[in-house]
């Protein structure tokens, strides 16, 4: 039987020494690293936090601002990449566990945490195909138009009260605007491919995104009205003090606005059940059918970065941003990232539960349900602004309680699953082995 | 240092470009694009004036109205154009059918 053995290579001279040392190091470090994979994983996270802290502490006072900016940009890009990578890996893990399977397990040892890196590196090595009859320059341009604005959106997103790269008094709208440009990249990609599936994907995307921008904007008007500012930092600052101070619990219209915003943001991120532009079972891969290699990764990257961006806005605008739910002592970027990631997780949870909507129903849902609903929210909220301030105590009490009930239900469901973890899937249930 | 004149000249260039596009193209959408150029040139002036102390905040407010107008104009113009185009093409199709007998 023919087998593939790695060809043995003879090393000589200095490289021999290096090779020997490398082998020794690998032999010693490998098992240790494998054992410590868990710690390494969290170590990286902790190190990242420390790094950011150090940046805030020591880099900020640096005089040549351009140097400081470049450091922050590197950090920002790193964060976005991290979000995208963790998002893609997390998506596979979450979907796996929802579906009674494990998801990536091998790449990198502990639960396949390096999977996204391997995917990325693989796609770098993929041949870069451009169909001959496609519109070549536009085909090349499209991924950038999709990716760059999403990254730009992070310019104004505050991670903490002073953890923001640039804050202007229009930052909320700025994020919306940036997310709006992404559509153009997708349309362009779909159109330039000259493939029919791509064209369908692009048209659907354009139709869907343009229309869902309206309920999104309208539901964001509600908190803007309540705070009196479009600046994300201002909005975050207005909610310190505890979970009952979060905007979501201030009045019933805000409470519902959170949900309408969240639904609209699902649509604008092309997440299920609104993932028609790339709906696999109808359009083969939607607008990126013809894209291969890293250009495809850029679309993907943009999607996950946008997912976190919209979740971040939801966090800041409705869920208190970086403020901790209990008191102000622990408020900080970690809370912000945790809440944002939780919302991203909910997006995944929804995606792996629901079927896909049909395009006419997408439009129907937007025009006939979401849009009138947000209109009512908007008008109602402005009336509330006039007359409702005396009920603030009750609303906080009731809505805050409602929020707690929802969290409680969530925990109950999770707990039910955990308690019955051996029984839920029947006799086939298995414990999993580490690292395999 | 960039002063008001710079902006004005830029806006003039923009406007002339728009004009050239309108004149040279015989496609309705291209003409629409030209109009957008001219509107943007005008808007640029508004903002530049506002920033340089002429008219205060009104410049920006007017700018918003210009954008509103532009959007409205684009919507209507494209609608008219599409309508027109479909009339034409339907006539064509009819003629084609007649020819086929």
């Amino acid at each position: 039987m023919q087998t593939f053995e790695r060809p043995k290579i003879e090393y000589t001279g200095i490289s021999k020494t290096i090779a020997e040392i490398a082998v020794v190091v690998a032999k010693i470090a490998g098992p240790i690293l494998r054992r410590l994979a868990w710690f390494v994983f969290f170590g990286v996270i902790i190190f990242g936090c420390a790094f950011v802290w150090a940046v805030g502490r020591f880099v900020n006072p640096l005089v040549p601002w351009i140097v400081r900016d470049i450091i922050v940009v590197a950090g920002g890009l790193g964060f976005v990449s991290l979000v995208a990578m963790v998002g893609i890996w997390g998506e596979r893990k979450v979907s796996g566990h929802i579906q009674s399977r494990l998801g990536p397990m091998r790449t990198g040892g502990w639960h396949g945490w390096l999977q996204s890196l391997a995917d990325g590196l693989k796609f770098v090595q993929k041949e870069d195909l451009i169909p001959a009859s496609a519109d070549q320059p536009l085909f090349r341009l499209a991924p950038y138009i999709a990716l760059v604005p999403v990254i730009c959106a992070y310019v104004v997103i505050p991670f903490g009260a002073s953890w923001v790269f640039r804050d202007r008094d229009v930052s909320l709208l700025f994020v919306l605007a940036m997310l709006g440009i992404e559509v153009l990249g997708v349309i362009l990609g779909g159109w330039a491919s000259n493939s029919k599936w791509s064209l369908y994907g692009a048209m659907r995307e354009a139709c869907q995104l343009v229309s869902y921008e309206i309920p999104m904007g309208l539901s964001l008007l509600v908190p803007v009205m309540a705070v009196g500012s479009i600046s994300l930092v201002q909005m975050g600052k207005a909610q310190s003090g505890g979970w009952f101070n979060w905007l979501m619990f201030q009045n019933p219209f805000l409470f519902f606005a959170f949900f309408t915003y969240y639904i609209a943001s699902l649509a604008s991120c092309k997440r299920a059940p609104f993932d028609l532009p790339e709906g696999e079972s109808e359009l083969v891969a939607g607008f990126h059918t013809e894209y291969s290699g890293f250009r495809f990764v850029m679309f993907f990257f943009a999607e996950y970065a946008a997912m976190f961006a919209v979740s971040a806005i939801a966090t800041i605008v409705f869920l208190g941003g970086w403020n901790s739910p209990v008191g102000d002592a622990t408020s900080g970027p970690l809370w912000f990232v945790a809440k944002g990631m939780f919302l991203v997780w909910v997006q995944m949870w929804i995606r792996w539960t629901l079927p896909r909507i049909r395009i006419d129903q997408v439009m129907h849902a937007c025009v006939k349900y979401l849009l009138p609903f947000t209109m009512i929210l908007f008008v109602g909220s402005s009336v509330w602004q006039l007359y409702g301030s005396q009920f603030i105590f009750y609303t906080r009490f009731i809505l805050g309680g409602l929020g707690l009930v929802m969290v409680g239900l969530f925990l109950a469901g999770a707990g039910y699953g955990y308690v019955n973890r051996g029984r839920l899937v029947g006799r086939l249930a298995r414990k999993h082995l580490p690292g395999a | 240092m960039i002063g008001l004149t710079h902006y004005l000249v830029l806006s003039a260039i923009l406007m002339v470009l728009g004009l050239a596009i309108i004149i040279s193209k015989r496609n309705a959408i291209a003409i629409l694009i030209g109009v957008e150029f001219i509107l943007n040139a005008a808007n640029l002036n508004f903002i530049a004036f506002s920033r340089h102390g002429i008219g205060g905040i009104s410049g920006q407010t007017a700018g918003i109205f210009v954008i509103v107008l532009a959007a409205a104009e684009a919507a209507v113009a494209l609608a008219i154009f599409l309508n027109f185009y479909h009339q034409i093409s339907s006539i064509d199709i009819d003629r084609g059918n007649q020819l086929k007998g």
Binding site: W65, D69, A74, G76, L77, G120, V124, Q125, E127, D128, L129, I130, P131, P143, L147, I151, C152, V155, R166, R168, L173, S193, S195, K196, S198, L199, M203, A206, C207, V210, S211, I214, L221, V224, M225, A226, I230, V284, E290, F294, V297, F301, D360, M363, H364, V367, K368, L371, P372, M375, V379, Q385, L386 | I64, V68, A71, A72, A74, A75, L82
Partner: protein, 134 residues
């Protein structure tokens, strides 16, 4: 260095970072990725069949009407934001009611238009049958 310049520089830096990410990976990929054109590779994919004609045809109109509608709403919302920002302070000043009705006039008209469109079926994505040219 003014404030606005810094803002722009910030955006451009992030944009540059985004471009660098894509371009860098693609350029690096050029080193390590194979290129092997020829055959049917550069054809358009269509589930394994040869394609019939380009995809650049005149597409369905339905999409268009929706987009049209929403451009108008886009503008509308853009104009409502400044109002929303000062509304709170106006209420505090005690002239909230006037501001409210000013907005309601503005907003109400559009809602009227919206209701009209709804009533006469312009919002139905696929329109009901047989209403060709009344």
């Amino acid at each position: 260095m003014t404030e606005s310049g810094r803002f722009l520089i910030g955006i451009l830096l992030f944009a540059a970072a985004g471009v660098a990410l894509g371009l860098g990976a693609l350029l690096f990929g050029k080193l390590v990725r194979p290129r092997n054109p020829g055959g049917m590779k550069d054809e358009i994919y269509e589930c394994g069949e040869p394609t019939v004609g380009p995809a650049w045809v005149q597409f369905d109109l339905r999409f268009y009407v929706v987009a049209l509608l929403f451009v108008v709403f886009d503008v509308e919302i853009a104009m409502l934001y400044p109002w929303a920002v000062i509304y709170k302070s106006l209420v505090a000043q005690g002239i909230g009611v006037a501001a409210f009705w000013e907005m309601m006039f503005f907003f109400g008209l559009i809602v009227l238009g919206f209701l009209y469109l709804w009533r006469f079926g312009y919002l139905d994505w696929v329109r009901a049958t047989g209403d060709e040219e009344t």
